[in-house]
């Protein structure tokens, strides 16, 4: 291979890219490197971006049609035959419709299946509540042996896809539809089960995942302008949670704010509370969708409507400091 240009970098400056697009590119690269990688989709390959892989490696791509339970089971069978299957569809259908198949067929047998779902969270936008997965992390997190990863940007997504292909066991990777700013530093290297600390604050720390990491960084800048020292951690692996980083962060400041594009029930905020309640009681405030369904609208309108904004984080930090 010759010199490869990172498709997410133009003239040295990273650009905003949807994590699903980064997934499509990473799969293509992975497919070229590894013969054992196979991809399955449930009639959404254009949206999940697995279509790129399908076009280049048609003999290793299986469209299962609109049948998510069969999608998960077939992926499980391919893993038993020694393949490394990536099974993709929208997050709510993959984790909701096929939850019990993931529990019984994949996790109970600890099969090497990579469930990479797109269209998670409220930023699905106009399609509305039926298509917005606000509880997928909760559903996957309770499964024994499951790893749950929510990448923050395109660069991290690419690294996550390569990392999970090397790992033997079931993984859920949560991706989005909307473009997200590139925020991870150039020298960042994703490690499964490790959070990335941008800065550790003395006044408060924000533990965020997915698109909320960039929102948290924005809030941090606003708070800095007001003289507050606030830290940000990208907790991209939600299970197993990086307890060491979390505990160190909680020791640094009295206030922890979690931020996720997910229900505040069962996701990152809950995971953080579980660890801190056991090991290092702290004041934790959770930013997320508050036990309600979403609705139609433009992604940025919905982010405002459900309080997933830098302003909301700033307000929360200042209220509970």
């Amino acid at each position: 291979m010759g010199e490869r240009k990172d498709p997410h970098v133009s003239e040295g400056k990273p650009k905003a890219v949807a994590t699903r697009d980064a997934y499509g590119s990473a799969l293509l690269e992975l497919g070229g490197k590894r013969e054992d990688v196979v991809v399955l989709d449930a009639d959404l390959s254009g949206s999940t971006k697995t279509a790129k892989f399908a076009k280049t490696f048609p003999e290793r791509f299986f469209n299962i049609g609109i049948s998510e339970q069969d999608l998960v089971g077939t992926a499980g069978g391919l893993s038993l035959a020694g393949k490394v299957p990536f099974a993709s569809t929208f997050a709510i259908f993959e984790t909701g419709r096929a939850w019990e198949q993931i529990r019984q067929s994949v996790c109970y047998s600890h099969l090497n299946v990579k469930l990479v779902a797109t269209h998670s969270g409220i930023t699905v936008g106009e399609d509305g509540a039926s298509h917005q997965a606000l509880m997928d992390v909760a559903l996957m997190r309770v499964l024994p042996g499951m790893t749950v990863i929510v990448p923050a940007d395109g660069t991290e997504t690419g690294q996550v896809i390569h990392a999970v292909a090397e790992y033997d066991g079931p993984v859920y990777v949560r991706l989005g539809r909307a473009k997200v700013p590139a925020i991870m530093p150039e020298d960042y290297r994703f490690r499964m089960g490790r959070g990335y600390t941008f800065h550790r604050g003395k006044d408060a720390n924000i533990i965020a995942a997915g698109i909320m990491v960039s929102v948290a960084l924005e809030a941090q800048q606003q708070l800095k302008a007001e003289g507050l020292d606030v830290g940000v951690v990208n907790m991209s692996t939600i299970k197993p949670l990086d307890e060491e980083t979390l505990l160190r962060t909680a020791e640094a400041s009295r206030l922890i704010v979690t931020a996720e594009e997910h229900s505040i029930l069962g996701g990152l905020g809950s995971a953080v509370c579980e660890v801190l309640a056991d090991a290092h009681p702290a004041i934790v405030k959770r930013i997320g969708v508050r036990d309600t369904f979403g609705r139609s609208g433009k992604p940025d309108e919905l982010m405002k409507l459900y309080g997933l904004t830098a302003e909301e984080i700033v307000k929360t930090v200042k209220t509970y400091l």
């Binding site: 339970q69 069969d70 089971g73 499980g76 069978g77 038993l80 047998s109």
Partner: protein, 276 residues
């Protein structure tokens, strides 16, 4: 490494099936719970698979070129444990530990606990999808191994079975053979009363499968169907095996209540006499 013992004669296979049934009765009685009816109804089919048809090596359970058996009706675990033990995958004395708290013989098969089990099952409707995936993977690798998947007839009420039926036909999985243990009963009663599944053979035909309709207790018919299925190219095969729930023990036969009930000590004694 030698392959599993192959029994070629239908009469000898019947004797082996009787032995399998005796083990099922003994282990269920000892366990004091478990699924009697559906383990006995499929005993002839699974005996023919393990002692005649399938290419497998009990000493090398992960042998790459083995044929695969997936027990989609996971509640027939006692049957699977019996044939695995008699094949030599593990010691027969282990059968006495079925369903005990320190045993690897779980109420429904757990692949992480016991070698010889391809995948954990028990929640119905999921095995055929897995069998499809295995069949696709084997074909990609150019292996001529075959995949067998045993389903219950009540299990056909699960929608995922028909999703998988479409997939197998769409991908022309002729290295796959499904077998339906068509004993006509499910926990709540007759399948035709609970939720009608007939016409079963027409359903599979309509989904693009090659269908065999046989007496699931006639060894010659089971052998012939399994052999013929291997010769059918371009589509998956299904054997609809007409069976009797509780087969082999007169007072269990055709009784829905013995779907999920183990024999008592007295019943065990009587049953073993009938199976002598």
């Amino acid at each position: 490494m030698k392959a599993a013992t192959v029994v070629k004669n239908a009469g000898a296979l019947s004797l082996r099936a009787k032995e399998v049934r005796r083990e099922i009765i003994r282990m269920l009685t000892e366990a004091e719970s478990g699924h009697t009816g559906g383990s006995l109804s499929a005993a002839d089919i699974v005996t023919v698979l393990y002692f005649y048809k399938m290419r497998h090596r009990p000493e090398d359970p992960l042998w790459k070129e083995r044929d695969r058996f997936i027990l989609s009706k996971g509640h027939a675990a006692p049957l699977l444990y019996a044939v695995l033990a008699l094949s030599g995958y593990f010691d027969r004395t282990l059968l006495r530990t079925l369903r005990k708290v320190d045993s690897v013989l779980q109420g429904h098969p757990s692949s992480k606990m016991l070698q010889g089990i391809e995948v954990s099952t028990g929640s119905l409707g999921q095995g055929l999808s897995i069998a499809n995936g295995v069949a696709l993977g084997l074909r990609m690798d150019g292996l001529d191994s075959r995949v067998y998947c045993l389903l219950g007839d009540g299990e056909l009420q699960e929608g995922q079975v028909w999703e998988a039926a479409m997939t197998a036909a769409h991908y022309c999985l002729d290295n796959l053979c499904a077998i339906v243990d068509n004993n006509g009963l499910q926990i709540d009663g007759f399948c035709c009363d609970v939720m009608k599944i007939e016409p079963v053979t027409d359903k599979w035909k309509a989904f693009g499968w090659n269908v065999f309709d046989i007496d699931g207790h006639d060894m010659e018919q089971i052998i012939a169907a399994l052999d013929e299925a291997e010769r059918v190219k371009g589509k998956p095969s299904v054997i609809v095996a007409r069976t009797v729930k509780g087969k082999g023990v007169s007072f269990f036969e055709g009784k829905a209540e013995y779907h999920g009930m183990a024999p008592t000590k007295e019943e065990e004694e009587k049953a073993l006499k009938e199976l002598a």
